[in-house]
């Protein structure tokens, strides 16, 4: 498959939730070819500070309007520069990169567990799973209510969405793993006719990894690592594996079997 580098015009940029921005950009090829779990690699500024491109999960595609969406939080100079991009301006975008989630397996039910902005690529996944007639339970843990966005759209698409927040301002108070344990107590998850998907901060993924080991169905994880080239040339975005070796998030991943990754840091 041929990859591309595109100049994508920004259609809109809005603050979707507190400190979280949503960008819609015109991108015909990317809209057509991106799969859930894949990412785009964007030059967020000009000049050499920041130096690198920044990887963003594809948050959604709109094939009719030939656009893709990304969401991000401003955390450093790259996202700071991106937050200043105005509609009509163009972004230099490489993609779609990486291997996305495997949605082709014959499972009936899917359990999606998002921590914070780990929801970025799980939204896209949820939509595709619903389209594939899979049942979707979407568990989303945030710190507080103001970080939530797009929940109604997710529900309207057909997903069962359950929320938890650290401060109790939305949904159940506590970590998303509490929601997960609760859900797994329901008998429909007792058999193996399901697939789990997780994305979020490392600590949260580690906690889910512990719980996932007790389920009878397989789990996929989308890993987030610092990345320079995005195309397997620099070997910078290493993910440690339980077999003792490393895989590259950009090209072997970012989606891996949850049971195979070692979560450090």
């Amino acid at each position: 498959m041929g990859l591309g580098k595109y100049s994508c015009q920004v259609v809109s940029q809005c603050e979707a939730a507190e400190g979280i921005f949503l960008v819609i950009m015109k991108a015909r090829e990317l809209a057509r070819r991106s799969q859930p779990g894949q990412f785009v690699h964007i030059r967020t500024g000009c000049g050499w500070i920041p130096l690198w491109r920044r990887p963003f999960s594809v948050h959604g595609v709109d094939e009719k309007n030939e656009s893709i969406q990304i969401v991000y939080r401003v955390v450093g100079p790259g996202t700071e520069a991106l937050s200043k991009v105005k509609p009509g301006e163009c972004l230099d975008v490489m993609g779609p990169l990486g291997n996305g989630f495997d949605t082709g397996k014959p499972f009936t039910r899917s359990l999606l567990v998002a921590g914070g902005l780990g929801s970025a690529d799980l939204f896209f996944l949820a939509g595709r799973l619903v389209r594939r007639k899979k049942k979707v339970l979407f568990l989303w843990g945030v710190r507080r209510k103001s970080e939530l966005f797009g929940v109604d759209a997710l529900r309207n698409a057909g997903a069962d969405v359950r929320i938890s927040s650290e401060d109790g301002s939305a949904g159940k108070e506590g970590p998303v793993t509490d929601l997960l344990r609760e859900a797994l107590g329901e008998k429909e998850w007792a058999d193996g006719d399901a697939e789990g998907f997780v994305c979020g901060p490392k600590g949260m993924i580690r906690a889910v990894q512990g719980i996932a080991g007790e389920t009878r169905f397989p789990w996929q994880v989308s890993m987030e690592e610092k990345m320079a080239c995005g195309v397997n040339a620099c070997k910078g975005c290493a993910v440690k594996m339980k077999d003792g070796g490393y895989r590259m998030a950009c090209s072997d991943g970012p989606v891996f079997d949850l049971g195979e990754v070692v979560l450090e840091g």
Binding site: L3, K5, E29, M94, K226, A228, V231, A233, K235, E264
Partner: protein, 327 residues
């Protein structure tokens, strides 16, 4: 020179500069190796030469230098391996590679169709390892030259230890020289007191050409966690920030030896590349720029061609080493 930078069968691309109409002769000579132009990609930034094939036609380049190959496969260093710094980056990859056997059987055959020079970068824990790797690599007809890495700052054995000690450098270069008659390029470290001395040593030991510089030892700290931003604390600094250092070292080495030099270090535009040529480099390698602009190397090539045209330079070799210094 009209440059169509599209990869065969490639998709939409943008940002291509208008190619110049008249072609200067851009070919250069590195020992017995003739390059059709002076732009190569640097080791460790271009994979095995295959990773960027979707973004531009790699055959446009003068050459590619592969990721370092060692006798045995290496997993590489613990994370984090990379960190961004002002106009630069630190890396501590640790020469992660598939090993010489798989390189020869899996990677190199895929480069057969490329119309560009293939320079294989090698390293090893010992001088004997380096010589053995060189011997195995050089037997393959697709290998046009060997670049010996004596300057990796991110491994415990070999690496920088060769490049910072005159006697060790002499021994490892002699060993590799004995193992191959193919053009031998020795990649020098900037982490020395006197790079000219190391350059002389490498040339005396049989190097046909020198490439410089490898990365500068650097570090960065995460002030929130109090931890280094690189897993092994120290990494190698590259990117636009190091260019003036690299240029100064090319100038110093130029005065010390007469073999061709390949300038490396923070080259981020064709202007940077032309600076190196004027300073006395016969060719340049593009490294970190590949990460920002996957087709950055071909942009540099186009820019050099345009510059030669504008300056009425019909042969790029007439540009090399033309720096006008105060007497």
């Amino acid at each position: 020179m009209k440059v169509d930078r599209r990869a065969p069968g490639g998709s939409l691309r943008t940002g291509s500069a208008t190619p110049p109409a008249v072609s200067a002769d851009l070919s250069v000579q590195i020992g017995s190796l003739r390059l059709k132009n002076p732009v190569l990609t640097a080791s460790g930034t271009f994979g095995y030469g295959l990773e960027y094939g979707d973004y531009f036609d790699v055959s446009l380049l003068g050459g590619i230098v592969t990721k370092t190959v060692t006798l045995e496969p290496r997993e590489g260093n613990p994370m984090p391996r990379i960190a961004e710094t002002p106009a630069g980056m630190l890396n501590s990859i640790g020469l992660a590679n598939v090993g010489v056997e798989r390189f020869l059987s899996e990677k190199l055959p895929q480069l057969m169709g490329l119309q560009t020079a293939v320079v294989v970068n090698i390293a090893g824990n010992t001088a004997r390892d380096c010589a053995e790797t060189a011997e195995r690599v050089q037997a393959n007809p697709r290998v046009d030259a060997i670049e010996l890495n004596v300057s990796c700052p991110n491994v415990d054995q070999g690496g920088l230890a060769f490049g910072t000690d005159k006697n060790a450098l002499n021994e490892v270069v002699r060993g590799v020289r004995t193992a191959t008659r193919k053009p031998l390029i020795v990649k020098l470290s900037p982490n020395v007191t006197d790079i000219a001395l190391m350059a002389e040593t490498a040339v005396d030991a049989g190097a046909d050409a020198l490439s410089l510089i490898n990365t500068l030892i650097g570090a960065a700290v995460d002030i929130e966690t109090g931890r280094p931003l690189i897993g092994r604390t120290f990494g190698g600094l590259s990117g636009p920030a190091v260019k003036p250092v690299a240029l100064a070292m090319v100038l110093k080495v130029r005065k010390a030896v007469s073999v061709p030099l390949i300038g490396i270090g923070g080259i981020s535009s064709w202007r940077d590349a032309v600076e190196f040529l004027i300073a006395g480099a016969t060719a340049v390698q593009i490294g970190t720029l590949n990460f920002m602009e996957p087709d950055g190397a071909v942009g540099v090539l186009e820019g050099i061609a345009s510059y030669c045209e504008r300056k009425n330079i019909s042969n790029v070799r007439d540009l090399i080493g033309t720096l006008i210094e105060n007497p």
